[in-house]
């Protein structure tokens, strides 16, 4: 039953990636900014939580403080960087380069502060194993799936059931019309980047809890999340989440037929072919 364990491992990895994807999708669909620095916020969350947990802070408090800090960092990036650039009529390319710069700054500050070593969370409960038939999962993996699905459900509820969520969708749909109706898009942009940063802090802590921390570890998840967002249909939270899970499952199961070093290449090749036939993404109609 190796395929079953591979499938479940793929679902676990995919669930965490899915949260990265929905947070990125939320920001991109609303602000139209390719927020590469999101990978830095993701990484920062893990290091903040590690610092607190290492100093004896309860694990849950460490997680919540990390989420709070990332919310502030996200809001600052939008308010102090992207908004300023927009006021100066910077092009999308300039904003992208600024975002890359912010990512480099965050990564290098982390590397200089904590070193580039692989750091392990001091949480012995995380590696405890539960058995479900032939499937074996650590507590960290179980927690990752539960909290990731909860984050997806919470984001969906927030986007569709709350006034703020509806305002965000309105700005995402038509910022000019939103401005006329006094929705103040710049304020919404700050809020949406802050919320996206809070959401991404969750996998930012949960994934390193399982696999350890590395300063440059946020780029690959963001790349996969970006592809999931595009393949899922830009603007579709469900699309981003489902496709991220799909990519992770495919990467895991592909090992049954091809060597591991080909796994990522083959998986993304399949998605390139998929995009040729459905360039608007799988869930484009669901917007």
């Amino acid at each position: 039953m190796v395929w079953l364990q591979l499938l479940v491992n793929g679902l676990v990895t995919g669930a965490a990636l899915g949260v990265v994807a929905i947070s990125f999708a939320l920001i991109y669909a609303t602000t139209k900014i390719f927020h590469v620095a999101h990978a830095g916020v993701y990484t920062l969350a893990g290091y903040l939580a590690w610092s607190l947990a290492s100093r004896g802070m309860p694990d849950l408090v460490s997680l919540l403080v990390a989420i709070l800090c990332c919310t502030v960092v996200g809001a600052l990036i939008q308010h102090q960087l992207y908004a300023r650039l927009e006021r100066r009529r910077a092009t999308h390319l300039v904003v992208l380069i600024a975002s890359l710069g912010a990512l480099a700054v965050i990564q290098n500050v982390i590397a200089a502060t904590y070193s580039s070593n692989i750091l392990q969370f001091p949480v012995p409960w995380g590696s405890r194993v539960e058995t479900f038939g032939s499937v074996r999962l650590t507590w960290t993996q179980i927690l990752t799936v539960v909290l990731s699905v909860a984050a997806y459900a919470g984001t969906m509820w927030f986007a569709h059931r709350t006034i703020l969520g509806k305002q965000i969708r309105a700005v995402a749909s038509n910022p000019f019309l939103a401005e006329i109706t006094r929705l103040r898009p710049q304020r919404i942009y700050v809020i949406v980047v802050a919320i996206g940063s809070a959401i991404v802090a969750l996998p930012g802590v949960l994934v390193p809890l399982d696999l350890g921390l590395q300063p440059y570890g946020g780029v690959t998840p963001l790349l996969t999340a970006t592809i999931a967002m595009i393949a899922g249909g830009v603007g579709s939270i469900t699309g981003a989440f489902v496709l991220a899970v799909g990519i992770a499952v495919l990467q895991n199961l592909s090992l049954l037929v091809i060597p591991g070093e080909w796994s990522i290449g083959v998986t993304f090749f399949i998605f390139v072919i998929f995009m040729l036939f459905r360039p608007t993404g799988l869930f484009a109609k669901a917007r």
Binding site: S127, G212, Q251, E261
Partner: protein, 374 residues
């Protein structure tokens, strides 16, 4: 008048004598600082090992300098961080050689050492490797000297041991770089020669910490033993192996001797070959008092390598030869046998030293048996 001339002659003789004495004074008598280099991974996934290597070198030279240096000459080591990356290593090499004018450099990790080897040949700079083990290091450069056996030697020892233990089928998990591929190739060659069969192999990237997919695929082949050739990320590996509750034995090389992994209860039962090098208790105690960590394998290896350099430099100074890379190289092979922490002989660029089979048990790395490998 004659008296004045006599005094002048006497003064001239004294001055001439002083000048001549200064001119013919042996180089060793002029106390100066001898500057050497070290290019090691001080940050990045290899930093746990690199830091211990740096400490081993510094610890050895601090002790020598505290006693007045080598024939009065203090030794200073300039450390460069290569993050275990070949391209960064080449830049560091040029910086140390062209700007700092060092005649020799301590190195570690196969990829970086192989990248610097052609430069060492061209510029006649002695490279001392006391940590990397790729077979390619054996003949990479006449100026690259390895103070520990190659992976092939360790694989040969482990292959025979596994067959003796009745472990006749194996799967290989290897790092997709020079060190990992070299070890994989050695195992694919030597394990069948010892009487075993390799059922499967899977690669992982350097610094990758999610080994689960590869481990699951390899376990599906139902091997008696999983042979591991990776150089970083040992703690996640042993934890994920424990999660799998795999029925196979896990074996590896000296690379597995990561103190953090040994200390983790999940590593219980893992065996690995280990280049034998012990430190006297007083030395280990002094090291721990200074750095707060045990003097592990890599610290001992580089301490030993530094001692070899002290012996070579001492001989050069005695022979009044300038300390150049070429002279260091020639003198090392002229001395040939060294009695440092272990007896070591250089019949070729790679030293002949004892190899042991170690088992990780309750936070300790216990030696099961020792073998002398050529």
């Amino acid at each position: 008048m004659r008296q004045v001339q006599g005094v002048r002659r006497a003064l001239a003789a004294v001055v001439a004598g002083m000048v001549l004495a200064g001119m013919v004074r042996p180089a060793a008598a002029v106390a100066e600082t001898i500057r050497l280099g070290a290019i090691l991974p001080l940050t990045g996934p290899g930093a746990v090992v690199g830091t211990q290597e740096m400490r081993g070198i510094q610890f050895a030279f601090d002790a020598v300098n505290a006693k007045g240096g080598v024939q009065g000459n203090k030794i200073d080591v300039v450390f460069e961080d290569n993050q275990a990356k070949p391209d960064v290593s080449v830049l560091s090499f040029n910086k140390l050689v062209d700007l700092q004018k060092v005649p020799m450099i301590f190195t570690g990790y196969s990829g970086p050492s192989l990248a610097m080897a052609p430069l060492a040949t061209r510029k006649k700079i002695l490279l001392i490797n006391a940590g990397a083990q790729s077979d390619k290091l054996r003949n990479a450069s006449p100026y690259l000297v390895n103070t520990l056996p190659s992976t092939g030697d360790e694989v040969a020892v482990m292959s025979k041991y596994l067959i003796q233990q009745g472990k006749k089928t194996a799967a290989v998990l290897f790092e997709n770089d020079a060190a990992g591929i070299g070890g994989r190739d050695d195992f694919l060659d030597l394990f069948p020669k010892a009487g075993g069969t390799v059922l499967a192999q899977e690669a992982v990237q350097f610094g990758q910490t999610d080994y689960r997919p590869a481990l699951l695929k390899l376990s599906a082949a139902k091997p008696d033993v999983l042979y591991v050739v990776i150089t970083a990320g040992m703690v996640p590996l042993v934890q994920q192996l424990k999660q799998m509750n795999a029925g196979f034995l896990v074996a590896g090389t000296t690379f597995m001797a990561d103190p953090a992994a040994i200390a983790d209860p999940a590593s219980n039962g893992i065996i690995h070959t280990q280049v034998q090098i012990d430190a006297p208790p007083d030395l280990s105690t002094a090291f721990k008092a200074k750095y707060g960590d045990d003097m592990d394998f890599f610290a001992r290896q580089y301490y030993n390598a530094a001692q070899i350099m002290v012996t070579v430099i001492d001989k050069l100074l005695t022979e009044k030869k300038p300390i150049t890379g070429e002279n260091l190289h020639d003198t090392l092979f002229a001395i040939r046998s060294f009695q440092g922490l272990i007896p070591m002989e250089f019949k070729s660029n790679t030293a002949t030293v004892p190899i042991g089979i170690n088992k990780m048990e309750n936070g300790k790395d216990v030696t099961l048996l020792k073998v002398t490998a050529e």
